[in-house]
């Protein structure tokens, strides 16, 4: 058994490519756990960050600085009564959150956390991601209809109109990025997510900077459209509290409601991953070509450990600044334990980075590489996650006609123009 595991850890292909169902299952399990934890962390961060934007404290009671709040929320939602309205269409009401959840999690099979750190490398990767994530709208529409109530129905109608409209601009922006993969070389164009990142590696440029400003414009269009696709502020027309109570999930409660929330956040992470893989170089660290000496490799591989040391330091500051009243003793011990855990992880990462600093094929070096890839990918996605919170705190909600005008009359023509210009520049350049 250990031999089997060791032989796999040395492998350089994805489990899907190797045809290994066992490792594919392990990867699926790891990704599912990771995404669920990320959603909980995101939930906490969103409440805290929003509160600080509005000069409030946010959750402070459950655990130090409300760190255990997501767990308390999850427990509450699980114990809460799961109401199905009598007038609702029982079966469709029951199945709607599952559609959204399945669509949101299915796309994680092709997200490239690294050249071999993905469940599978499909030939049609990006097409699969766009297609399956567009199924998410079905969950919203069906939930709104099955509730048999006015607010959910209006929310569902708005949401489906919005998502269908913005999918067009989004798809065109993605196509212009795909065009860039095949430039200068015959037959290198690809739809595979790993292939797209490798094309950026080969051409030595992130696609956001390619054909400046064409890549940048396509990226901005995608970044706007993906906020609308995930129904987030300022485009959260489907659940505008002031107009529609809670939009399509007004009639939902308890666990079933929390599935909608999980699906929304998972979809946010998924679309951010598309943006990162297509325009921001995926798993690549900054300046892989400019600073390519082994010493730079080593310096950049220290970043994961440094990040965790930084988090541990923040937690230590929290411990020191905790009021000295006996009421806070448990919180202080808990936070100190959390800081110790973070420091331990940082130490582990540091040991791996130092042990695997030589660029050979030893297990430590392979580990170090894998951690680097996943770290840079996750860091880039995390920036997008923070941007989602930032948008929500900063911009007022659009009106529906404004939203439609932006989608059809601004984003669509611009993305068509960018697509045509990218093709022309590509032909001229090669």
């Amino acid at each position: 058994m250990p031999n089997f595991i060791m032989s796999y850890l040395g492998s350089t292909v994805t489990p899907g490519e190797a045809g290994n169902q066992f490792w594919a299952l392990i990867y699926v399990f790891i990704i599912f756990t990771g995404v669920s934890v990320a959603v909980m962390a995101m939930n906490w961060l969103e409440r805290k960050a929003l509160a600080h934007f509005q000069i409030r404290l946010g959750p402070m009671r459950v655990g130090p600085h409300g760190l255990l709040q997501p767990i308390a929320d999850a427990l509450k939602l699980m114990l809460k009564e799961d109401i199905i309205p009598t007038e609702a269409d029982q079966f469709v009401f029951w199945v709607a959150p599952l559609i959204g959840l399945l669509a949101a999690f299915a796309v994680y099979t092709v997200i490239p956390f690294g050249p071999s750190q993905a469940v599978s490398d499909m030939n049609i990767g990006i097409l699969f991601m766009l297609g399956v994530s567009s199924l998410g709208v079905l969950g919203v529409v069906v939930a709104g209809w099955a509730s048999n109530s006015h607010y959910p129905l209006i929310g569902a109608l708005r949401s489906s109109a919005q998502m269908v409209s913005y999918e067009v601009a989004m798809g065109l922006a993605v196509v212009s990025a795909i065009l860039m993969t095949s430039l200068n070389e015959q037959g290198t164009g690809t739809l595979s997510m790993i292939g797209i990142v490798q094309a950026q590696q080969r051409q030595g440029v992130w696609f956001i900077f390619k054909f400046f400003p064409l890549g940048l414009i396509a990226f901005v269009i995608f970044a706007i459209a993906m906020v609308a696709e995930t129904n987030r502020a300022p485009f959260d027309m489907a659940e505008a509290e002031s107009e529609l109570t809670a939009g399509y999930h007004t009639e939902y409660s308890g666990l079933r409601w929390s599935l909608f929330m999980l699906a929304e956040y998972a979809a946010m992470i998924a679309v951010s991953s598309i943006a990162v893989a297509l325009w921001l170089g995926g798993w690549m660290r900054p300046f892989p070509n400019l600073l390519h000496a082994p010493v730079w490799d080593f310096i950049f591989s220290l970043f994961p450990a440094l990040t965790f040391f930084g988090l541990a330091a923040i937690a230590v500051v929290g411990v020191v600044r905790m009021p000295s009243h006996s009421f806070f003793r448990i919180q202080r011990v808990g936070l100190a334990g959390f800081a110790a855990l973070l420091a331990f992880i940082a130490l582990l990462l540091l040991v791996i980075a130092v042990a695997g600093r030589s660029a050979d094929t030893s297990l430590a070096a392979r580990f170090r590489e894998g951690i680097d890839y996943v770290y840079w990918f996750v860091l880039k996605v995390a920036v997008f996650m923070y941007l989602f919170i930032w948008y929500r705190a900063t911009w007022p909600r659009y009106r529906f006609d404004q939203l439609m005008r932006v989608g059809w009359k601004v984003l669509l023509p611009i993305s068509l123009g960018v697509l045509i210009l990218t093709a022309i520049v590509g032909v001229v350049a090669s």
């Binding site: 490519e17 190797a18 045809g19 169902q21 269409d89 469709v92 499909m122 030939n123 049609i124 097409l127 699969f128 766009l130 297609g131 399956v132 567009s134 199924l135 709208v137 079905l138 529409v141 069906v142 709104g144 209809w145 129905l153 569902a156 109608l157 489906s160 109109a161 998502m163 269908v164 999918e167 037959g187 164009g189 739809l191």
Partner: protein, 187 residues
């Protein structure tokens, strides 16, 4: 499984439990297809149709036609069916489900179904003579490029289906223009 197929597939990419998934997907497609025409509630019919389309996409995947499967999901399940649901949701389901359906055409429908069935049976019986013995290409990694070659041509020569493809896009353009003209009172 026939030996030609076996040797054509790279050993590491050998598919798993192929008959199981085929019968699962085919059965799902047929059952939900029947549900589409038997449910009185239009939204239930639409949902069943989505299941049918998705299982057909799965069958395409089993034929190593991943691009077709992806397009099937994007265009039909993600695009057209959402618009279908969008319209159906605005219909008063309770009243329309009590309405008498347009079922005076059932003899014609039955005849069409029988003709289609006869076609399928013929194709099944004569399959050996009509189709090549083995699949022409199983290369999953260049599937998309091959489709592009057929549609747009490659290396300066027109593709096999370029003309038909362009005509079809012209047809779609006319349909779009028609929709715009019908909804706009003055242009």
């Amino acid at each position: 499984m026939n030996p030609a197929l076996n040797s054509a597939i790279n050993a590491s990419m050998a598919p798993v439990a192929t008959p199981f998934f085929f019968y699962l997907l085919a059965g799902l497609a047929i059952i939900s297809g029947v549900l589409v025409i038997t449910r009185r509630n239009a939204v239930h019919s639409a949902l069943a149709l989505i299941v049918t389309l998705l299982s057909v996409a799965g069958l395409y995947l089993m034929l190593y036609a991943s691009f077709v499967a992806g397009v099937q999901i994007i265009v039909y399940a993600g695009g057209i069916m959402v618009l279908f649901l969008f319209v159906i949701m605005l219909v008063n389901i309770e009243r329309s489900s009590k309405d008498r359906q347009f079922n005076r055409m059932w003899p014609a429908g039955l005849a069409a179904a029988c003709a289609l069935m006869a076609l399928f049976v013929t194709a099944f019986v004569k399959g050996k003579a009509l189709f090549p013995d083995r699949m022409i290409s199983l290369s999953e990694s260049s599937n998309t490029q091959q489709i592009a070659g057929m549609l747009y041509g490659e290396a300066g020569r027109m593709g096999e289906y370029t003309f038909a493809f362009e005509i079809a896009s012209l047809l779609l353009l006319v349909a779009i223009l028609g929709a715009v003209i019908m909804t706009k009172k003055k242009i």
